[in-house]
Every structure is written in C-alpha cells, then in structure tokens.
C-alpha cells in the first residue's frame, strides 16, 4: 500500500484500474483468457468437482421424480423444507449481481465496470438454481404450467391473489430481464472475440452471437440508451423480486412470518448474501487469472463495506423482530421468538447469529478487508449465516405454530442434502463454462474506463 496524505480519503485516491493500461492491453488481456489461454488443469479440476456434484443432483432428482417428495424430510406441519430454504437463498444471492450492474450504473459508480459481468452471470446461474426448487417441491412437477395463465380447455384461470402466483411472475421476469441485460452487455465483447478469434469455429460462433455488431456511433447511442433504460427497469425489479418472495411468508398468518418488516429485511439479506457470493467468486478469479489490475483492492474493500452495511440492516431486522414479538403482546409471537432462541432449533439460531452478525464485525478492521484469505472466509461465513437464517425462519415457525397438538420436528434426509449440494454443483458447472467461453470482465466498459481515467489528470 502506498502511503496516503493525511486527511485524504484513501478509497478515492486508490485507482479502480491499475495505471499503465491502454485500450489494446485491456482488450488483449481479457480476451486472451477465453481465446488463447486454453483449458487449464486447475479449470479442469474445478469443473470435474462441479460436474460430479451436478451428477449427484441429477441422481437425487431422478429418485425424487420416481418416488415423490416423501424421500425428503418434509412432513405435516413442516411442508416447506430445504427446497424453500434453498430457493430463497439462491434467489437472494442473485440480487447482488443485478444491483452491481443496474443500481451502480444509475449511480455512475465507475468501479462496477470490472465486476459487473461475472456478477450478472452469477445472478443468472443463481436464479437458475433457485427456479428449480419450487418445481421440484411440487407433488406433481409435470403440472407446473398450471401456474401460468394459459387457455385451458376447462376455462380455468390461476388465482391471481395468491403470492405463490406472484412469485412465478416475479422470478420468471427476473430471470428474463437478467438474461437480457447480460446479453446486451455481451454484444460488443462478442464482436471483439469474433474479430480476434483465429479459428473458423470460434469466428462463426462468436460472429453469430455478436449479430454483426460493428461499433457504429449510431449503434452505440442506442446501445447506451438501452443500457440505461434496462438499468432503470432492473433496479425496481430486483427490489420487487425479494419483496414478492417475502410475501410468500408475510401473507400467511404463521407466527414469525406475518410481519410488515419482511420485505426490506429480505431485500437487505439478499444483498448481503449476494455480495458475499460476489467476493467468494472474485477472490479466486482475480488470483488465478491474474486480474489484480482490473479487480483491485479498492473493489474488494468497497464490496466488503457494502456487506458490512447490509449486514447491519439485517441485524436491525433481527432486533426489531425480537422487540416486536414482546412489544406486540401477542403470545404466539412471543412464543415463536423464545422457541427460536431456546427451543429445539436453538443451536441453529445461535450459529446463525454468530455467522451473520458477530463474526462479520471483523470487517470493520481494514486489514481484514484487505486480506484476501480472511475476506474469503468471512464471505463463506455470511453465506452460511444467510442460509441458516432462511432455515430458522421456515422451520421454527412451521414446526411450532398455534396449537401444540399440531407441532412436529423436521429433520433433513440425505436426499435433501444431495439436492442442496447438487444445486451448488449446477451453479459452478455453469460458472466454469462461463469463465471458459465468455469474457468474465466487460471489455468495452474497461476500454471506456481507460478513456475516462486518461481524461482525468491523475490525482
């Protein structure tokens, strides 16, 4: 670290792009990862692990379809087991990607340029994992299309007042818009790959995907207008998606679910776990692909700070939830909180509090934010915490509701674990393919960043 003058903000002085880069050098370095670097041994090793997990998922799903959801640990009263925990966890992870690409674009945060591409990829793959679970969770998954308004021969229509139907629209819109946003961002980079590819197959494939993009000034004008419009549309969308997910809970009268704090609490939690995932991906990526010039310590530091801030919004929600349980005078709510803290799932609750609230406070220390190993471990810790949070919300409320005669415990089976770990395999399989075949950093935005940093005289 270079010394910084006293009174000067270190984060402002630090560059978002290492000095000495030109339009050509950023283009060459990023496109070389895809075009000339080849398939490395480490890539193959990681991909093999991911594929193995994916195969395990396929096995678990095959058995599930053959035997039904009875192989899972779900029962009555706990009808929402791991499937819904995983669904909420994955969709939350996706939120950071959209936030980086859309919200930070509107805020004109230049540092987003080097992280938005793989963060958006993360979003799409996380939504793919999330979208799978509600379908698997259905007793008759082949009838999933009943959720959509389609011309039915019996003139039946979906019940549009149901939050579960809202969820279908929110998640499918989110998946579509995320893919559109990602693809639009990729068009000029695909053209770069087309122009730089040396084999016929690559030229043809990237050529078709880039649709004949030639960088015309008129095209850029429409392109940039479109990017800005998409950002403006995606920002409220991302907030609405986790809000609708939280409606799945709040519309029910279950103690611990029926609460107005859920939408902001869920959105903050989503961003919290999402940034943790971005860091988890960025730290190994920049190391193994030598991208320290593009994804600098400043990025790491900024994202760690966002994690810390959203972590406190989540902490506030936990505190409010507990306070309201007592303040409301509602005996069921009060029992729900006491049951969470001291009931049969108390261990899970306290691990969640440690992983989500206590340990991440290390992020206040600058050295922790700048040591890649501790930051990586802290991100894993937050993701575990956020997964446990969804587990606690779903399982404790369902297992002990109003009437003691309807109480029951939930224990996950090995099929639950295989499906959960398998979804991580699906995510990483897709991610490995992405870093092998597409530029993981937006090349044209990096060129623009070079241009902007050239214009501004160095501070």
């Amino acid at each position: 670290m270079e010394p910084v003058e006293p009174g000067k903000n270190a984060a402002v002085a630090e560059p978002v792009l290492a000095p000495g880069h030109s339009f050509g050098s950023v283009t060459d370095q990023i496109s070389a990862i895809v075009l000339t670097r080849g398939t490395g041994k480490k890539w193959m090793g990681g991909f093999a692990v991911a594929i193995a997990l994916l195969l395990m998922l396929n096995f678990a799903i095959t058995v599930l379809f053959a035997k039904g959801v009875g192989i899972w640990g779900i029962n009555i009263p706990v009808g929402w087991g791991f499937a819904i925990v995983n669904f909420v966890w994955w969709i939350g992870i996706g939120h950071a990607g959209t936030l980086i690409s859309a919200f930070l674009l509107l805020m004109r945060q230049q540092w987003r340029s080097s992280v938005n591409r793989f963060a958006e990829a993360m979003t799409i793959f996380a939504v793919a994992c999330a979208g799978m679970f509600p379908l698997l969770h259905m007793g008759r998954p082949w009838l999933f299309y009943w959720l959509f308004p389609y011309p039915d021969t019996m003139t039946l229509w979906p019940q549009f007042r149901s939050p579960l139907v809202w969820d279908v629209f929110a998640v499918s819109t989110y998946a579509t818009v995320s893919i559109l946003f990602w693809f639009v961002g990729l068009i000029p980079d695909l053209a770069t790959l087309r122009d730089r590819a040396t084999t016929k197959i690559k030229q043809v494939v990237y050529g078709i995907l880039s649709m004949g993009w030639r960088g015309s000034a008129k095209h850029w004008k429409r392109y940039e207008t479109a990017s800005l419009l998409l950002a403006g549309l995606a920002t409220p969308l991302v907030v609405s998606v986790h809000t609708v997910v939280s409606f799945d809970f709040t519309i029910a009268i279950e103690p611990g679910w029926h609460s107005t704090i859920f939408p902001p609490y869920f959105v903050a939690g989503a961003i919290y776990s999402g940034f943790a995932m971005v860091l988890c991906l960025a730290i190994p990526l920049r190391k193994y692909y030598g991208l320290e010039d593009f994804v600098t310590l400043r990025h790491m530091d900024t994202m760690a700070k966002i994690m810390l801030a959203t972590g406190w919004i989540v902490a506030y929600s936990y505190i409010m939830e507990t306070f309201m349980a007592f303040y409301s005078g509602n005996p069921f709510d009060r029992y729900m909180i006491m049951n969470r803290m001291f009931g049969p799932y108390a261990t899970v609750y306290w691990i969640l509090i440690a992983a989500n609230l206590v340990i991440p406070q290390l992020l206040w220390i600058k050295k922790m934010r700048r040591n890649m190993l501790t930051l990586f471990l802290l991100s894993l810790c937050v993701q575990t915490g956020m997964w446990l949070e969804r587990f606690v919300i779903i399982i404790t409320s369902l297992s002990r509701d109003f009437v003691p005669s309807s109480w029951g415990m939930y224990y996950p089976t090995r099929w639950d674990w295989m499906t959960f770990l398998g979804s991580i395999g699906l995510f990483f399989t897709l991610f490995y393919l992405f870093i092998r075949f597409l530029p993981m950093i937006s090349i044209h935005e990096m060129r623009e960043l070079v241009h902007k940093t050239e214009e501004e005289p160095a501070a």
Binding site: A170, L180, R214, S216, A217, K218, H219, L229, S240
Partner: protein, 178 residues
C-alpha cells in the same frame, strides 16, 4: 477491387479525440452519409455523425404501458369475469392483490421492448456489412477508430474525399468495396 462497386472511403485514427474531431469536420464540410466506428461509446460522436436522438425511450414507454394495462386486464378478466373465485370473502375485483403481477409485467414488457427495439433499430442481426471488407477494420473492436464516408453521399468524390480525410491526419485511408 476491379469490377466491384465502391461503398466508400474509410479513414483510420488512433485516438477517440481524433475521430470525434474528424467526424465534426466531415459534418462541417457538408458530408451527410457517413458513420464513425469505435471500440466503445464516445460522448458526442453520435451527434457529430448526425444522430442526436433515438426514439427508443418512447418505444419503451409504450412497451411498459402495454405490460401494465395488459397485465392488469388479464388478472381482472380471469378472476372477475372468466372464472370468479370467492377467496376468503374478498371482493372479486380485489385490485391491490393484482398490483405485484401488474408491476412485473410492466417491467417485463418494457425490458423486452428495450432490447428488441435496440437490436431492431440498429438493423441487427446484420450478417454482412461492407466495412468488414477492410482487413484493418477488425481493430475497430480493439483500439482503433474509423470514419467511413459513403460513396452515395452527394458530396462524395473519390479524389477530393480522400484528400479531405488525409488532411485530418488519418493514419490510413482505404477504399471500401460494396
């Protein structure tokens, strides 16, 4: 190039500032049918080639409006007219419950209009464009900047335009086959 029609003349520059200057100069000189190519969007370049405003936002507005009205109508028609269901004694037309999906469909239709509109207005996918006949044009997606004046421009003259472009300190001026 024997026997092939001339599409235009292409000048190559190595900085965005040079291209911007050249585009403005070409406009002042009276050229109208020309385009500039760059590896990233340059502020002011679209205005310089005579394209100050795009209709895209208007299209997106109507796309969003369609999604909003259509989305609400779909739910209202299905749950009030098509197949009325009594849910917890609530009125059939319990419109606040229709808002989330109305919102999602507004965003969906607006986003689809944005992307399809951008691609269609740009005339993409374009499997062929004469500019690609210049081998060095491959650098337009790396670090070089190009100005292409079309032969169809009324002011175009192979010799004069070539001289004009060279006077702008173009690195290289090449003929583009149609």
């Amino acid at each position: 190039m024997a026997g092939r029609r001339l599409y235009g003349l292409m000048a190559e520059f190595d900085t965005p500032e040079a291209l911007l200057y050249a585009a403005r100069a070409a406009r002042e000189e009276g050229y109208r049918k020309f385009d500039a190519y760059s590896p990233f969007g340059i502020e002011g370049l679209a205005e310089a080639v005579g394209f100050p405003k795009t209709r895209l936002p208007v299209l997106v507005f109507f796309g969003g409006l369609f999604g909003c009205c259509g989305g609400f109508f779909m739910q209202w028609w299905a749950n009030v007219i098509g197949y009325p269901l009594n849910i917890g004694g609530k009125p059939y037309d319990s419109w606040p419950a229709f808002i989330p999906i109305t919102f999602e469909l507004t965003i969906l239709c607006a986003a689809l209009t944005t992307v399809i509109g951008m691609i269609a207005l740009n005339g993409l996918p374009a499997p062929y464009h004469p500019a690609f006949n210049v081998p060095r044009f491959a650098l337009a997606s790396r670090d070089h900047f190009f100005l292409l004046i079309e032969a169809e421009d009324p002011k175009f003259d192979p010799k004069e335009t070539q001289e004009f472009l060279e006077a702008l300190h173009a690195q290289e001026v090449s003929e583009v086959e149609a």
